[in-house]
Structure formats: structure tokens, C-alpha cells
């Protein structure tokens, strides 16, 4: 089993909470966005006991920092930009993966149209790296700053994220003669009261007509070629680090303790 943890830490100095989560869930790959402290400080916390973790920096400054329980030699950067890092994960005796990690522009600075128009470009970059790698066992993880139902996430030329495993397992869909590969987006199942966890990963409210309150900007998407390794409930939105609650009584993220985002835990049976 490979365990991934992603957290947008909102520039908070919360290395202790991060290390507690990593220990508690036996995380193998830790990806952090908006780090408020240096990678070295995180590494020292992660390795306060035994030195199991490695810092796996990107070649170019990227919005997501990565730490691994295995040698970073097994996580080779393939494509990098200021916001995206696509790496090839080549662990011995396991199928190779492409791990795409990202923190995309916020709604505070980009219009929804601009956000949506960025997704076809991202989808092309992913397909290009899949062609170079010779497979499409791709796992996408990050703070995308859009909800799973928004056009860039759902559109065929965008990430083409399907709300059910069965839909995604079609593999691709043809629109106007062009074939577009699918992603499974398990985050759909985490909205509202019936998810069993919080109603989203991020809460935002203001006085205007249309407000969703809860958002799932932090997402994990899985290509159909990885579905065979994907448990039935692969993603958990974390609300507790050890005995420290990360949410207030209202259920919203408690920024006085942690971040304004909840962390995501994701498992693959590899």
C-alpha cells in the first residue's frame, strides 16, 4: 500500500501537525502547498525519530514541496513549472506511476473563465508526459482552486474528471472526432452531509446570491489504468491530527490551529 498526504498549509508554521499526521497514517509521499516554513524544518520534524524521510525538491521552484519515505531517486521530475510538478515514480517491483502535483491559481486572483481556460493546457501537458512515459498510470493531486463540477474539471478537453469509477473506466470519450482520456475524480463523493466526513476541504462564504459555502479545491484524480490499484474509498479528508482537532465546532477548518484547508489522505494498493 502506498499512502499519500496532501495539505495546503496556508503558510502556517505547522510542521508538528504535519509530522503527527505522517506518523499516524504512515504516509509514504507528503506533498505540501503554501509552506510557511522551510523544507529543512519539515524534514527535521519528520525525521525527529528515525531518519526515514527525504526531501525531494523539484529542479525549478514549484508551488508543491515533496517529501518521501523512499529515496528521491525514485521520484524523477519530468515536467515542472511554477505551479505544477509532474514526476515519474519508479519504485522497485512496482508499476511505474506518473505523479502530478499542483497548486493552481486562486479565485482571488483569477476569474472562473481564466481558470477554466488553463485546464486544456494542463491536460495536454499530462498527455504529453504520459506519451513520453509510455503509460497512463497517472495520479493527480493538489489544490486546484476549482470544484470538481466546474467546467475545467469536467470538460473533455479539460481534466475530464468523472464522478464515478464506472464512468471513468470507459477510458476515453470522443467529442467532435477527438478522443479525450478520462480521470476518476473520487472527490465528488465528499460533498454534503452524506459523505461521512466534512462537507468539503475549504469553506468560504460571502454576502452574494450564489454561495456554495463548502468547496473541494483539494483533489485527487486517478487515470483508469490505476483504478485496479485504487481502493473503493481511496480518499479521506482529515480533520484530526492525533488528538488535535483540525476543525471547529461548526465543522469548518480551524485556522487558529491548522490551515484553512483540510489535508487529504490517499491510498493506492501498490
Amino acid at each position: 500500500m502506498l499512502t499519500f498526504l496532501f495539505w495546503n498549509t496556508n503558510r502556517k508554521p505547522i510542521a508538528g501537525l504535519v509530522a503527527r499526521l505522517v506518523e499516524e497514517h504512515q504516509v509514504d509521499v507528503l506533498a505540501l502547498a503554501e509552506m510557511g516554513i522551510s523544507g529543512v524544518e519539515i524534514l527535521l520534524r519528520l525525521n525527529a525519530g528515525s531518519p526515514d524521510f527525504h526531501y525531494a525538491p523539484s529542479r525549478l521552484p514549484t508551488a508543491v514541496e515533496v517529501f518521501t519515505r523512499f529515496s528521491p531517486d525514485f521520484l524523477t521530475p519530468m515536467f515542472e513549472s511554477g505551479r505544477i510538478s509532474i514526476r515519474r515514480m519508479t519504485l522497485p517491483a512496482r508499476p511505474e506511476l506518473l505523479l502530478a502535483m499542483m497548486h493552481l491559481p486562486s479565485k482571488l486572483h483569477w476569474s472562473e473563465d481564466s481558470q477554466a481556460l488553463g485546464f486544456p493546457e494542463l491536460a495536454r501537458e499530462l498527455r504529453q508526459e504520459e506519451e513520453r512515459a509510455g503509460h497512463a498510470r497517472t495520479l493527480l493531486i493538489g489544490d486546484l482552486n476549482v470544484d470538481p463540477f466546474e467546467p475545467g474539471m469536467v470538460s473533455a478537453s479539460g481534466l475530464h474528471g468523472m464522478m464515478t469509477r464506472q464512468l471513468a473506466s470507459r477510458g476515453s470519450r470522443t467529442v467532435q472526432g477527438r478522443v479525450y482520456p478520462t480521470f476518476y475524480n473520487p472527490m465528488w463523493g465528499h460533498f454534503g452531509d452524506r459523505s461521512g466526513g466534512p462537507s468539503g476541504t475549504y469553506y468560504y462564504e460571502r454576502a452574494e446570491q450564489v454561495v456554495h459555502f463548502w468547496h473541494i479545491f483539494d483533489q485527487v484524480l486517478i487515470r483508469p489504468d490505476l483504478l485496479q490499484f485504487c481502493p473503493s474509498d481511496p480518499v479521506t479528508i482529515i480533520t484530526q491530527a492525533g488528538d488535535t482537532p483540525l476543525r471547529m465546532e461548526s465543522g469548518r477548518p480551524d485556522q487558529s490551529i491548522g490551515s484553512d484547508h483540510f489535508p487529504l489522505l490517499f491510498k493506492l494498493s501498490l
Binding site: S38, L43, L44, N47, A48, P51, H54, P57
Partner: protein, 132 residues
């Protein structure tokens, strides 16, 4: 009609030694990470050079600082023929080539190099910059 010739190789082919210089170097590279909480990591890079049966294996022992844009300091290089010993060690900081005739000599030499003022100075400087 020709019959199939069975394998003429003996069935008990096995490594001649339990630990190669490369295995020792890799273990020490890993131990550097353990000693510095992985702020610094050891790295061994192997190349083959020369021609025909005179080819030699060359193992570079490097100290890498992942958080300093993977700054890499080459500490020494070990080279040997197929037979492993004797092997030559060349410290990048000078002293010329030292020839070692056995695993015991090799391990004693490594202990001396790792504890040397020069190595401590390099590691101290890297740690200071990593943590600044």
C-alpha cells in the same frame, strides 16, 4: 538430426565475495543520511572506463544537499578491476592515490576519511547553509 546441447555451465555459480566495495560505499552513503536526518545524503555514482578486460569500475562518493538545489560535493573516487582488490582511492581534495589491498584496509581508510578535518569541514559548511 542434431540433439539439444544441455547447459554446460556449472549449477553453483555464485558471487565470489559477500560484500563488494560498492556495497560498502552504498551502506556508508545511507549512513550519512541517517547521521544528518537526511539533511545531507550520500550518493554513489558508478562508471566503467577503459577497454577490454582492463576495464575498471569507478565509484564516485558524493555528499548531496537536497535542499540546496542538490548541491553535490565529490569526496573521493574508488576504482578497481573486476577482482575488487586491490583498489585505488583518490581523494578529490588531494593526497594522491592510495592503494588498498583488502576489505579491512578499505574500511579502515573510509573511517579515517569520514573523520578527517576536511570531511568534517565540508559537512559542517553544508549543514550550516542548509539550516540557514
Amino acid at each position: 538430426m542434431s540433439s539439444i546441447i544441455p547447459s554446460l555451465w556449472p549449477p553453483d555459480l555464485a558471487p565470489t565475495v559477500e560484500r563488494t566495495p560498492l556495497a560498502i560505499l552504498k551502506e556508508q552513503a545511507s549512513q550519512l543520511g541517517a547521521a544528518t536526518k537526511n539533511l545531507l545524503e550520500g550518493q554513489v555514482v558508478t562508471q566503467v572506463f577503459g577497454q577490454g578486460n582492463d576495464r575498471r569500475l569507478r565509484h564516485w562518493f558524493n555528499i548531496v544537499a537536497p535542499s540546496l538545489d542538490r548541491y553535490t560535493y565529490q569526496l573521493f573516487v574508488v576504482s578497481h578491476k573486476l577482482e575488487l582488490y586491490p583498489l585505488d582511492v583518490n581523494l578529490v581534495s588531494g593526497r594522491g592515490i592510495t592503494t588498498l589491498n583488502s576489505e579491512t584496509e578499505f574500511i579502515a581508510y573510509l573511517r579515517q576519511v569520514f573523520a578527517s578535518d576536511e570531511t568534517r569541514r565540508v559537512i559542517g559548511a553544508l549543514l550550516a547553509q542548509v539550516q540557514s
